[in-house]
């Protein structure tokens, strides 16, 4: 269902969401911008355009110690987005992925 929904989305809108979201998060540290970036990246993965999303892992790798907290806030209320973020952050920042997984286990935000 989600795949069908996202396949209707223009890839350009998803790519823009990813790049604008990452810029907002990097420059202003705004978790709401990170949510936008994650939503764009998840949409691109759903339409088999994952080749456009390595910038996400690069941004995670370069992020400061606030990464886990930002990810928890950015994915608040959306378990699917949180699972997606955990999958993407695990290879580059396993500790942040662990923190995200703990919020699942404890039923956190």
């Amino acid at each position: 269902m989600d795949r069908a929904r996202d396949s209707a989305r223009a890839p350009g809108s998803l790519t823009t969401a990813l790049s604008v979201g990452l810029a907002g998060w990097r420059e202003a540290g705004d978790p709401a911008a990170l949510r936008l970036a994650l939503t764009g990246a998840r949409g691109l993965q759903r339409i088999d355009e994952s080749n456009r999303t390595p910038v996400l892992e690069t941004a995670f790798a370069q992020a400061g110690p606030e990464l886990a907290a930002d990810l928890i806030e950015a994915t608040s209320g959306d378990a699917g987005l949180r699972a997606f973020a955990a999958d993407r952050v695990r290879p580059v920042r396993p500790a942040a992925a662990e923190a995200l997984s703990e919020t699942f286990a404890t039923g956190g935000r």
């Binding site: 069908a4 929904r5 996202d6 396949s7 209707a8 989305r9 223009a10 350009g12 809108s13 998803l14 823009t16 969401a17 790049s19 604008v20 979201g21 810029a23 907002g24 420059e27 202003a28 705004d30 709401a32 911008a33 936008l36 939503t39 764009g40 949409g43």
Partner: protein, 147 residues
Amino acid sequence: MAGRPVHVVVAAAALLVASAALRTVHAEFAYDAGLSLARDGDTSPARTCRDASSATRRRLRRDPGEALYALRAAQIRLFRAAPRGGPVDVAALAPARDLLDRAAALRPLDSKVHATRAQLERAARNLSAAREEAWIALATARALPAP
């Protein structure tokens, strides 16, 4: 004899319709010319941009009611004002913003218009406005029928 004025009116109406059709055809030709320039890898980026911009101006003049032309003209201006990896000419973003406003007025639910607006606001470092436009682009793209 009495039918002559009717013939004149009909002929004038036919001329008007033909003229309107011709304007759209010319606008389409200019649009295609701009697109092929943008895709031509052998043309220098500076010439591509100048010529494509000129083509978009022509087609906008010929068919100002077509949102796609306003959008493409805005994208070319945005590309010139904020080249990827290059310095941003903030003052030069204003005409692109005006063209996007026109495109949005003509087609408020076009995700490409909002995505371009998001890119423009990002270039202008209006991050909050950029984020808002990007969300609108996602929402409007979701409303599109599946390809």
